[in-house]
């Protein structure tokens, strides 16, 4: 069988970095092909070339044996390439049908389009109402919008960039059924993911990229996740270790904390309660947008809480702001690295100053001690292996993984009594993620209480002692992670958002 898509010697260089270096691969019709690699390995650049967003410097692409060089996404779509983006390329204020019309060359009238959306969503078991406003949809539903937008154009190749990172296990199951059905109908799928177990269950072949080069191929069903991970990183991986420890006395307690939604698209917190002891790690799972950001800002003090809802060692800290809480040892590292956890255009020294000023005594009577701040930044860089030329570099210039190591390290080194982190390893490559998890475990070992909010269930299972799920702003009762099954977790997270697992 001739390949549907064949790439030969594709090379793309940006100033200072070769994103893709002589990359070749081929995909047969109906094949599910995984593209593996750490952040910065060049996966995004490669798929952007296939989708016509970026032009290769060298090399050629062939579609069904004929030369294929899309000048823009429109040409790629016309040739039968569909793409589901990692950061959904959707318009919040527009309806589902309008969003889909924008991604089509010859969009029919909205009424006909709505009918076709219903047909396709029935055929593939992806329930979706065409007239809803996208801003009101869950992450899983938003992804369905993108998938249906692609399916309406009968793609021969569907590119999926990290599709499952925002889905509940049940939603992943629905997605996989859809993808298997598509593949059986002859649609090839190029699948990018960090989650190796998923790739093992879904994909027929895998190409591994490292630093822009193809470093190997694998048949996922016949390889272990560990083998593939080590091929990606190029070295042996260590699993975070955690000696069993007895939790100490209670440090942090939430009593029926309720807060209204901060914005129109935000989520209110409803009756959230938990208790956390010294040396304990509480893992909070749940699909994005179910109150994670709101919970973090209530704990960090960005939003003040009502009286008698947040207690630190018996003291009511609900009315205190972030600085007063820092003073008492409650630190937080929010999810959004650029803009929330770190100020993008400020140097690492300045960023170290921003949260470390009090606990590290970097200021006195309103005057800043830059020498001490630089030393603190240097300490973080050394202790957490942050790859940067030095603390004078802007936060923006660091790669996602390195900046994440910096912002987590900055809080860890301030010896917190309670540390709240949201998505500590989101978009971080495997070895950096392992280092961050190990640091959190070491911190707990020293007696700190830690709240880890994450959408990566494997991560929570690995480091948390107890697990709770956030769903629609409600926190489930916590359960010990040991012996908890994926199905149970999925149900705690609210199942597939009120829908049956699709009958495909």
């Amino acid at each position: 069988m001739t390949a549907l898509l064949a790439l030969k010697g594709l090379t793309k260089a940006y100033p200072g970095v070769v994103a893709n270096d002589d990359v070749s691969l081929s995909i047969a019709p109906g094949e599910v092909h995984a593209l593996l690699g750490e952040n910065g390995a060049g996966k995004s650049t490669l798929v952007k070339m296939i989708y016509g967003l970026v032009k290769p410097d060298q090399g050629e692409m062939q579609m069904n044996g004929a030369p294929f060089a899309p000048a823009e996404p429109r040409a790629a779509r016309a040739a039968g390439v569909g793409m589901v983006f990692q950061h959904f390329s959707l318009f919040d204020a527009l309806s589902v049908a309008e969003n889909i019309a924008l991604g089509m060359e010859h969009a029919p009238r909205l009424r006909d389009l709505s009918r076709r959306i219903r047909e396709v969503s029935d055929t593939y078991g992806l329930p979706l109402a065409p007239d809803r406003i996208v801003g009101d949809l869950s992450a899983g539903e938003r992804q369905r919008v993108e998938i249906i937008r692609c399916l309406l154009q009968d793609p021969r190749l569907l590119i999926m960039d990290e599709p499952t990172s925002v889905l509940t296990p049940q939603e992943v199951e629905i997605l996989f059924k859809t993808l298997r059905k598509l593949s059986a109908e002859g649609t090839a799928i190029l699948y990018i993911s960090h989650k190796l177990e998923e790739i093992r269950s879904l994909c027929d072949a895998a190409t591994v990229l490292r630093l822009g080069k193809v470093v190997g191929t694998a048949v996922p069903r016949e390889s272990t996740a560990r083998e593939m991970a080590e091929m990606m990183v190029g070295k042996t991986l260590s699993t975070p270790s955690r000696p069993a420890a007895q939790p100490g006395e209670e440090v942090l307690r939430l009593d029926a904390l309720s807060l209204p939604a901060p914005t129109a698209f935000g989520m209110p917190l409803r009756d959230v309660s938990f208790s956390l002891r010294q040396g304990e790690v509480l893992g909070i799972g749940g699909v994005a947008g179910n109150g994670q950001d709101e919970l973090l800002s209530a704990l960090s003090g960005e939003r003040r809480a009502p009286r008698a809802t947040i207690w630190l060692k018996g003291q009511d800290i609900g009315a205190l702001g972030p600085n007063a809480r820092r003073e008492r040892g409650v630190l937080a590292a929010p999810e959004e690295r650029l803009g929330h956890a770190a100020a993008p255009n400020m140097s690492l020294t300045e960023n170290a100053m921003l949260t470390g000023a009090q606990r590290e005594r970097l200021e006195r009577a309103g005057f800043l001690n830059w020498g001490a701040a630089r030393a603190f930044a240097d300490r973080i860089i050394a202790a957490f292996d942050v790859r940067t030329p030095g603390p004078a570099n802007a936060a923006r210039s660091l790669s996602g993984g390195n900046l994440q190591k910096f912002v987590i390290g900055r809080e860890v080194l301030q010896r917190p009594e309670v540390l709240v982190v949201n998505q500590p390893t989101w978009g971080v490559d495997a070895s950096a993620a392992a280092a961050i998890r190990q640091a959190l475990l070491d911190l707990a070992q020293q007696g700190a209480a830690i709240v880890v909010i994450s959408q990566d269930l494997d991560e929570l299972m690995e480091i948390a002692d107890r697990f709770s799920a956030l769903n629609e702003g409600r926190l489930s009762a916590s359960r010990p992670t040991e012996g908890l099954s994926v199905e149970e977790i999925g149900l705690m997270m609210g199942g597939a958002h009120g829908m049956e697992v699709a009958h495909v």
Binding site: Y14, T45, K48, G52, L53, V54, E72, P73, R74, R77, F85, F88, S89, L90, F91, D92, A93, L94, E98, A101, L102, G103, A107, A264, F265
Partner: protein
């Protein structure tokens, strides 16, 4: 004080005319902002349109040529803004303010030879028997063509934004320029066209003041109308019909307060003069209680990264 000197029919007729400059400028700015661009240079584009229109009308003795020149002048000036913000990625707020200052200076320079000149008069549209209807005739059917064009433009902008693919793409670009770019839409080109449309309408609005409302040329004669138009777009929640409502409200109160001054009402003139601004803003603030209507990418710089 004698309120009976105020003739309600004349007041209503004057209201429509007083509202038209704001209506034109605000409609143009609405399209610009729906495309995600905040152009604070409306006042500058209006005053440049005012002098371009005035000069062209005087030289050619044709008000229509004047209005065409005004639209062209406003659009050309807005191209400067497009160049700064879309190609060199300059800050939109600073560029817009600079555009206003530049426009005020440029218009003063261009207008030096036109002070005290009388422009040709624009004839009213002849509606025949319609104009004879009591009350409605003089209020609705006794105006110049530009006023009606303004109302038609509001309807057209509303219909294009709501029902056409071009309007959908424009809204998409304003809502999330990164996503629009990822889908292959030409963000910079679409925004540049929107900015030029806004400039042309601001120019028309300016010429309406210098050729019909006043009609003569004085420096700085737009007197803040461009700023009111900007505020109107925000308080109208980026909805065309609310812009029309707001413009008529403002025009109506502006006209009413002039009449009240004439009637010698025992309220200090300063309070009357500020009343249109205050009342318009209060009414529109109440109307725009839902704050989610702002285009998602409004005022943000778009940079296509690989």
């Amino acid at each position: 004080m004698d309120l009976s000197v105020i003739n309600p029919v004349l007041l209503l007729a004057a209201l429509m005319s007083a509202a038209t400059p704001i209506l034109l400028a605000a409609t143009g700015e609405l399209v610009v902002e729906r495309a995600g661009v905040l152009n604070l240079g409306v006042e500058g584009m209006m005053i440049v349109g005012a002098i371009c229109g005035f000069a062209a009308a005087v030289e050619s003795a044709s008000p229509l040529v004047g209005f065409a020149a005004a639209a062209a002048g406003g659009a050309v000036l807005s191209l400067l803004f497009a160049l700064l913000t879309q190609l060199t990625l300059a800050n939109q707020v600073a560029s817009g303010l600079a555009l206003t200052l530049f426009g005020l200076g440029l218009s003063a320079l261009l207008g030096q030879g036109y002070v005290g000149v009388k422009p040709p008069r624009m004839p009213d549209v002849d509606f025949g028997p319609l104009a004879e209807i009591p009350l409605l005739g003089p209020v609705l059917f006794s105006h110049d063509p530009i006023l009606y064009i303004g109302i038609l433009l509001v309807a057209a902008v509303w219909a294009v934004l709501k029902f056409t693919r071009a309007g959908l793409i424009l809204r998409a670009v304003g809502e999330n320029h990164d996503a629009a770019h990822a889908l292959g839409y030409k963000v910079v080109r679409i925004r540049t066209l929107a900015i030029m449309f806004g400039g042309a309408l601001a120019g028309l609005g300016g010429a309406y003041i210098s050729l019909i409302r006043v009609p003569q040329w004085t420096e700085g004669m737009t007197a803040g109308v461009g700023w009111i138009a900007l505020a109107l777009v925000v308080f109208a929640s980026w909805k065309p019909w609310r812009v029309l409502l707001g413009a008529y409200l403002f025009g109506g109160i502006a006209q009413l307060q002039l009449n009240l001054q004439g009637a010698g009402v025992a309220i200090p003139v300063e309070y009357l003069a500020m009343s249109p601004y205050i009342i318009t803003i209060v009414v529109l603030v109440v109307l725009s209680a839902d704050r989610t209507a702002a285009p998602g990418s409004l005022g943000r710089i778009f940079h296509a990264s690989g």
